[in-house]
C-alpha cells in the first residue's frame, strides 16, 4: 500500500500530509525524525485510511511562525482532522507525535476514539532519557535492530531542519523536561489509551509510561521486548499486532480469545 503526499490549506496555515488505504480513519502523528513509512504503517493502511500529517518545518516543508508549542501544533492537527477525518477517529502517536496526540486528546476529547501513545515524549523526569548527541549513541538509543530499517535515509539538511523544528516546539519554559501543563490535564483524556514502550528504550524511560498510566483514566501500557526507541522498526510484527488488536478491541485486547 503506497502513501501519497497531499497539501491542504487551513485557517492556521498550510499542512502537508501522507495518506493511504481505505477503512476506518486513523491519524498517525510522527516522531522527531519526521514521517517514515514503516512496516506497521504499511500494514495499517491495508484496512484503514491512514492520515499522517507533516508538522510544518519537518521533512522539507515550510515552518510556521504561528506554531510555538506542542499544544499549538495539536490545535492545527485538530483543525486538519475536523476537515479530513470523520469523527471519532483513532490516533497513533510516536514519541513527539504521542506528545501532540495527548494534547489533541485533551483539547478535543470527543474527536479521539482509541489512542495509542508510542514511546511518548514530553515526560523526562529529572532530565532522564532523551537522545544522545553523538551519532553512534543516537543510533544505539533508537534501534536494537538497525538492520530492520526499511525507509530511505533522509538528507542531512532535512534532518537538521526536523531537529530545529522539534527543538522550537518541544523546548519547555525554564528548561523544564516535563510538560507540567499537559501532565495536569492527562485525566481529561477520555479515549481508551494504549501506551507502548520499548523494553530497551533509553530515550523514554519506563517512568514516563508509568506516569501516564497513573493519570490517564482508561489506559494500558505494554513493553515491547527487544526494542529500543524506534519500536516500529525494531519489532514491526509485534507493534502491528498490538495496533490491530487494540484498535479493533479496545480494552478487550487484554483477553486471550484463543486461536480463531
Amino acid at each position: 500500500m503506497s502513501y501519497e503526499i497531499r497539501r491542504t490549506e487551513l485557517p492556521g496555515g498550510v499542512l502537508h500530509y501522507h495518506v493511504a488505504g481505505q477503512g476506518k480513519p486513523v491519524l498517525y502523528l510522527h516522531a522527531a525524525g519526521g514521517v517514515s513509512i514503516t512496516r506497521p504503517l504499511e500494514a495499517l493502511a491495508e484496512n484503514h485510511t491512514v492520515y499522517a500529517p507533516v508538522t510544518p518545518g519537518f521533512d522539507g516543508t515550510a515552518p510556521s511562525d504561528d506554531l510555538k508549542t506542542v499544544a499549538d501544533y495539536a490545535a492545527l492537527v485538530a483543525d486538519f482532522a475536523a476537515v479530513a477525518l470523520e469523527e471519532p477517529f483513532d490516533v497513533i502517536g510516536s514519541s513527539f507525535g504521542s506528545w501532540v496526540a495527548m494534547w489533541l486528546a485533551v483539547l478535543r476529547p470527543a474527536m479521539v476514539d482509541h489512542l495509542i501513545l508510542q514511546v511518548p515524549a514530553g515526560f523526562r523526569f529529572e532530565g532522564k532519557g532523551g537522545l544522545p548527541d553523538d551519532p553512534a549513541g543516537r543510533k544505539a538509543a533508537l534501534y536494537t535492530h538497525p538492520e530492520r530499517i526499511t525507509a530511505p535515509a533522509k538528507p542531512d539538511a532535512v534532518m537538521a531542519a526536523n531537529r530545529r523544528t522539534y527543538d522550537a516546539l518541544a523546548t519547555l519554559p525554564g528548561g523544564a523536561t516535563v510538560d507540567e501543563a499537559l501532565s495536569a490535564r492527562l485525566n481529561e483524556i477520555e479515549a481508551v489509551t494504549l501506551i507502548l514502550l520499548g523494553a530497551d528504550d533509553p530515550v523514554v524511560p519506563a517512568e514516563a509510561g508509568a506516569h501516564l498510566k497513573q493519570r490517564i483514566p482508561v489506559s494500558q501500557r505494554v513493553f515491547v521486548f527487544d526494542a529500543a526507541h524506534s519500536i516500529e522498526v525494531d519489532q514491526p510484527e509485534r507493534v502491528t499486532r498490538l495496533w490491530f488488536e487494540f484498535l479493533m478491541r479496545g480494552q478487550g485486547f487484554v483477553l486471550n480469545r484463543g486461536a480463531a
Binding site: 523494553a199 519506563a206 509510561g209 508509568a210 498510566k213 497513573q214 494500558q220 501500557r221 505494554v222 513493553f223 515491547v224 521486548f225 527487544d226 519489532q235 509485534r238 499486532r241 498490538l242 485486547f253 487484554v254 483477553l255 486471550n256
Partner: protein, 388 residues
Amino acid sequence: MRAPTHFRRSEGHRVKFNFFHLMPYPEFDRVPHEWPVSTKGIDSRRITGLYRTYVDQLADAENSGFDWIGCNEHHYSPYGLNPNPNLIASALAMRTDKAKIAVMGNLLPLLNPVRVAEEYAMIDVMSGGRLIAGFLRGIPHEYIGYNIPPDHSRSRLREATELILKCWTEDEPFGWEGEHYQFPAVSIWPKPIQKPHPRILMSASNAESAEFVAKSRAIMGITLIQNIEAAKEAITHFKTVSKSYGWEPTPDDILVGQQFCLCDTDEEAQAQMEGAQTYFHQTLMRPQRAAQQLVLQQSRYYAGADIGASFQKRLATLRARTVPEQIDAGSIICGGPETVVKQIKRLRDELGCGIINLTMKVGNMPDAVVRRGMELFRDRVVPQVAGM
C-alpha cells in the same frame, strides 16, 4: 599449595557458605536405564520423611555456620525430589531467621516467568528480604520433560529475565509483548522487599553463559569444576566480560559449587564420599545421560558444538576420577576438619570466590554423616575460616 596469583581478598568480603541440598531419593534399589524414571514401587509416604529430614537439615544449617541455605529444581527422577524448589524455600523462609534463602534456581525457560516472579517475590517477603534468586537454564534433558525446544533455551532465559525484573520493579500495571511471552496485563502482588530487586544468581560455566551473566550483573555460579585452572579461566573470563559491561565483580559476585564431605578423619570422609558418589553416578546420574546426549546431538542447546562436547567430557572426567584425585584437582571438598579448612582456603585464594556452595548430602550419604559434618563445620571449620 601455590600462592594466590590473580585474585586478592577484598575488605568486607568474608567468604560465605551455602548449605545446598539436592534432596535426592537415597534408596533407589534398581539401576535406572531411562529418563524419565519410573516410580514403580516407590512409597510416597517414605518421601514425607525425607522432606522432613532434608528441610530440618537446611533449617538447622543457619545455626551451623552457613550464611545461605539452598536447593534447586530437577524433574522426573530420583536425582532430586524437588521439581519446585520454591515450595521448599517457602518452608525455609518461615522456619529460619537469618540465612539467605538461595533458590538455585528456577529453570526459567521451562516456566511461566510471571509465576516465577510472583513466587520469588513471595519468598522474599515471607523471609523478610532474604531471597537469592537463581535464574537458571537447566540441564539439557529437562527440556524433553516440559516439551520446550532446547534451541530456544537462551532466548527464553534472556526474555524471561527481563520480564521478571519488570514484574519486580514496575509498580504500575503493564503488559509484555515478546518473542516467547505475551502478557497483556501484569501487576504482581506482593513486590519483593529487597530493592531494586533480590540478587540474581546465574550459571556461568562457559563463555556463552558468562556473557549474559555479566550483562545482567548477576552472581556467577560455577559447578562441576574439572580442575582449579579451568575454574580460574572461567572466572577470569567472567571478570573480563563484566568490565566490558562497566562493572567489576567482587568476591561476593562469584559462587563456586563443590560436593562436600566432612568427617572426623580424612579416611572416614573419603570412604563416605566414595560410597555416596557411587550411588550418585551409577543410580542418580545414569538415567539422564542418554536423554542429555539426545538433546545435545539434535539441538542447539549450546551454540558451540565444542561447548556441548566439553560439558559431556567434564561429566565423564569427574565420574572417572577417584576421590583423592578429585580432591587434588579441586573438584570436591572432602576430609577431616583441618583438611577441609585447607581446601576452602585454596579455593578462596586461587579463585577469589566469595561464596562457596557445598552440596552437603551427596547421593545416598547417610544423614548421620551429614549431621556430623554440620557439627564439625560449626565447631572446627568456621572458626578457622571466619577471617577469610
